[in-house]
């Protein structure tokens, strides 16, 4: 069974204080790993897809990396508007396109 574990569950940062969110996964064969951002009361918004170990993707203050067992979402010099829940999901080979999600990390950035 595919499993995704995100840590920490919640993270408070001061504006400008860089940090990383972790996503550990267990999957029989990885087709892709996905990061989403979710604001309160809204649907998740797509951020990145990573397909193979060593791959990196960047968008503004966010950078996602992938190893064979985990992914990190690095947040550089965060701003209050980066506050959200960040979700990680995996898609396994032969999964009929299903994504398995972690429970998310709630990020709060204080001004």
């Amino acid at each position: 069974e595919d499993q995704v574990t995100q840590s920490p569950e919640a993270l408070r940062l001061q504006e400008g204080e860089s940090s990383s969110l972790n996503c550990s996964y267990t999957v029989s064969g990885l087709r892709g790993l996905f990061w989403y951002r979710q604001d309160p009361g809204k649907g998740p918004e797509f951020l990145f897809t990573l397909y193979s170990a060593g791959e990196e993707k960047e968008k503004e203050r966010l950078k996602a990396t992938l190893t064979k067992k985990e992914s990190f979402l690095h947040i550089t010099a965060p701003k209050p508007e980066d506050s959200a829940t960040y979700l990680c999901a995996v898609q396994a080979l032969g999964s009929n396109y299903k994504l398995t999600f972690g429970k998310g990390t709630l990020l709060t950035v204080n001004p």
Binding site: P44, Y51, L87, N96, Y97, K98
Partner: protein, 112 residues
């Protein structure tokens, strides 16, 4: 701008009612999904569909059914709503294997 549209943002229904949640996508995607999201439990897959009139059970299908009569529309049906079905319901669509989902804005359903 591509979209997944869920017909209602908020719904309040009574126990025992039959409830329909509608989802429409304009991206010509083959695959559509229904998830529910609860605090502490994350997103859990209820049903998905990879073609018109095709459906497969997800991880928690009990108490739910789905309908996909047209490619762009995927409906979730609560046959007899119960209070434990109070949740945020999220619809999503996908272009296929290796692609992520595009989510709708969600329907917050309260069953009283």
């Amino acid at each position: 701008d591509v979209k997944v549209t869920q017909s209602s943002r908020y719904l309040v229904k009574r126990t025992g009612e039959k409830v329909f949640l509608e989802c429409v996508q304009d991206m010509d995607h083959e695959n559509m999904f229904w998830y529910r999201q609860d605090p502490g439990l994350g997103l859990r897959l209820i049903y998905f569909s990879y073609d018109v009139k095709m459906k497969e059970k997800g991880d928690i299908p009990e108490g739910y059914s789905v309908s996909r009569e047209k490619k762009e529309r995927f409906s979730l049906i609560l046959e007899s709503a119960s209070t434990n079905q109070t949740s945020m319901y999220l619809c999503a669509s996908s272009a296929g294997a290796g692609y992520g989902y595009t989510f709708g804005s969600g329907t917050r359903l309260t069953v009283v």
